[in-house]
Symmetry: C2
Subunit: 471 residues, 2 copies
């Protein structure tokens, strides 16, 4: 039951017939009331089901805060349609309420006629903010932050600060403020104040006397989003100020943006661990040719690596011809090595990403994985030995030297699981050490590495144990 809730409950879908009916009856009062019960994100999702003129009607009935949310959810062509067709009175609060970077992005995409209309509706201060926005590359904290700030300085009284907040919030309806960032004159950051502290402060107190410096973790605009996300996780932040190199406040990063970053990073790591270049797009959205390129690249590299197995096998051709029984266990042996290596690599890659393990722990990891490999290899080797030994009591398939074969396979399994475990666990640490992404140590990558070396281990062990009997 609970499992399904999120997928099935969507009030808006249920209400569509009623909405359509109210539109037909031109009963706008009841329609407006009904719309207040619908989440704007659901409404945005349902909008394409209405003809264009009805969409405009619905949008006109929304409160500004909801209109902004709906608008931001829509695709660019739909946004353009709205900006072309809604009247000034509806569009003005919309334009004032959208975060400045999003306005900047919109202006870059829209045809000139609409841009002209929009800039006429924007306040001078707003145009200035949009024009002065600092530009940060994708993936940095600066690119993800909210850049239009309400200026609150340390010399203000609590009362004055609250009044400025109120005035601004009346215009920017859906701005979400939990923490107020306070600057000195000139824009250098002075500290922060949780909104609740500001509210419960005596009205005449100066902000400089109550502001917090303690949790004042500052994020440089150029910092990697992933690093910023780690700060949020470690310090349990709900927001953080973004600063320029001179320590001036240039924006605010909030937890909901960080949540997106964390989701994207996890997706990227998962895809890399599955030996796909990160798709960066939803599965059905990515172009087929692009997906084939991203998957084919890694698959091709792994294939070239696997080609070595054929060469290595060629090298042992004589042994293979002499002891054909050994061939039967090649898939079993190489994949046991690959599986244990994939496991170890996955664990260490994730532990590195979560900082449960850092570079200086490498020796502890080696010790732990050496013992893990020994234990796991012992189990698999034991089962492998018993399988051949017991089977041979009933069938002659493994020949007269079945006991030696069983020992060879069992011992090889111990060795190869240990080797797979050690290689899989240390490879990500090596990659990180040399500045590369540990997630490159994907399950298939480690498996391929262990395949090639595994064949060598197998035939070397066989040569040692079977010399004079089978070989």
């Amino acid at each position: 039951m609970a499992k399904q809730t999120a997928e099935t409950i969507n009030l808006c879908q249920l209400l569509i017939p009623e909405i359509k009916q109210l539109i037909q009856e031109k009963n706008l009062a009841d329609l407006q009331k009904l719309l207040t019960e619908i989440n704007p994100i659901d409404l945005a999702e349902a909008l394409p089901q209405f003809p264009p003129e009805h969409r405009l009607l619905l949008l006109r009935l929304l409160k500004p805060a909801e209109l902004i949310t709906v608008f931001e959810e829509l695709d660019p062509p739909e946004q353009q349609f709205i900006l072309e067709h809604l009247e000034d009175a509806t569009i003005t609060p919309l334009i004032e309420g959208i975060p400045a970077q999003n306005i900047a992005a919109l202006l870059n995409k829209l045809p000139k006629t609409i841009v002209r209309r929009m800039s006429k509706l924007m306040s001078d201060q707003r145009i200035h903010t949009v024009a002065m926005l600092p530009i940060f590359p994708k993936g940095t904290a600066g690119a993800a932050m909210r850049a239009d700030l309400i200026s609150i300085t340390a010399d203000m009284t609590a009362k004055a600060a609250l009044e400025r907040l109120r005035a601004n919030l009346r215009v920017r309806k859906n701005m979400n403020i939990q923490t107020v960032y306070v600057t000195f004159d000139g824009g250098r950051i002075a500290g922060m104040l949780p909104l609740q502290t500001l509210i419960s402060a005596p009205p005449d107190i100066r902000l400089r006397d109550i502001l917090h410096t303690v949790s004042g973790i500052k994020v440089p605009g150029t910092m990697d989003q992933e690093e910023a996300a780690k700060l949020f996780t470690k310090y349990k932040l709900t927001s953080a100020p973004v600063v320029d190199p001179d320590d001036r406040l240039i924006g605010v990063l909030t937890l909901d943006q960080i949540l997106q970053v964390v989701q994207e990073e996890a997706t990227e790591d998962i895809q890399k661990l599955g030996a796909v270049e990160a798709l960066d797009e939803p599965y059905f959205d990515i172009r087929f040719s692009k997906m084939i390129r991203k998957r084919g690249a890694w698959l091709g590299v792994l294939f070239l690596g696997e080609l070595l197995t054929a060469s290595v096998m060629g090298f042992f051709e004589k042994e293979i011809a002499q002891a054909l029984v050994l061939v039967l266990f090649i898939p079993l042996i190489i994949s046991s090595g690959g599986n244990s290596g994939s496991q170890a690599a996955t664990l260490v890659v994730r532990a590195l990403a979560l900082r449960e393990v850092t570079l200086k722990d490498w020796w502890r990891v080696v010790q732990r994985e050496f013992l893990s490999g020994l234990a796991l290899g012992g189990i698999l080797g034991g089962v492998g030995f018993l399988r051949i030994y017991l089977w041979s009591q009933f069938s002659p398939v493994y020949g007269p030297h079945y006991l030696l074969v069983a020992v060879t396979v069992g011992l090889t399994l111990v060795l190869i699981v240990m080797w797979g475990t050690l290689a899989g666990s240390t490879l990500p640490i090596f990659l990180r050490r040399f500045g590369l992404d540990p997630a490159v140590a994907s399950a298939p990558f480690v498996a391929t590495l262990v395949d090639v070396t595994g064949i060598v281990i197998y035939f070397a062990t066989a040569a040692l144990l079977l010399k004079g009997t089978l070989l």
Copy 2:
């Protein structure tokens, strides 16, 4: 540079010598000032570096809000030590400020003498709240929510509501309020108000006239945390009310708790995809025996599956003996199938987790992956064919029928990559369809599945193409 910031900047570490010096000089005024500059989470991390009596001294100098944060970061034995040794005046605000569930958890773990002391220090109302806490199993929204609420009812004026908030925030210092949840008398949820709306409202207005119902997404206490996280992502929530079956407000879930859930879910999926049972504990914290059990279980199952390869190979013993050259390509072929299968499975598992793909999309997935398999198989098959064909121009290693061998290997590669891709992409959908976790379709699991069938495909293709020549 930016990459390192999060790991290296920790003001507290730098200040430890200075702190130690100030303690020695008994310069408590300067020490207290210095402590305000340190993030409490860093301080909690550094605390073990001080002898016990100095720890108590440092804690006494903290403001209540910081003391609570430090306390909540510490390990249980350290918490017990603090509760035993700090004086009433310091402990009282601590006990009042910790969320009610955490207090309940503490009381369950501590020795009776400390529990008695704590309950003497707690207000009657607080004891009542803690005693009446609803109990939810781990993994539900109810278990993650903050349960001690400030009661705000719809009949209150904005002014009265703000006053009640202020009074409560003075006691519960580090409570983080962004949204106020409003109830009717009797506790049924009426709606919500962003704190900023409450602040900017006219003082005498009744809450019932300004509260929002629109974004009022309600989370049942029994809902799976993972489902709640999906609501937060979809509706971009920063908090959500948690309700009982009678729609009574029982707690609040905030985005920072959801962030943890998202991180944990991603870790679980990653570990499952790497064929480890979810560890549920950091890499270095989990007991060795427990880790071996969690890794060994899957490795053992995969090994039993892989044992089938030996049986299948035994079945083709005659063919192997006749055409030894085929053996050389077994590792290449089975791992190409395994790799392409792992890729496809990883992509689909993650897309299912993010709801980019749902069950009803299964046919679209099959079509897409059929074409992907054809394209990727074509590439690998082509390279494999050329490798054998060209090599044979210089070396007799593949015998007189090298062209037929090249065709056999190339064609097998096309077939096996298609099979791997289809199996890897549909398996997670099947698992989900039957209520199982799609992430069970791990890279090694798919690889093992494809290994066994891959050998059959290889020798069947060979039998077809090489009959009368090599076989």
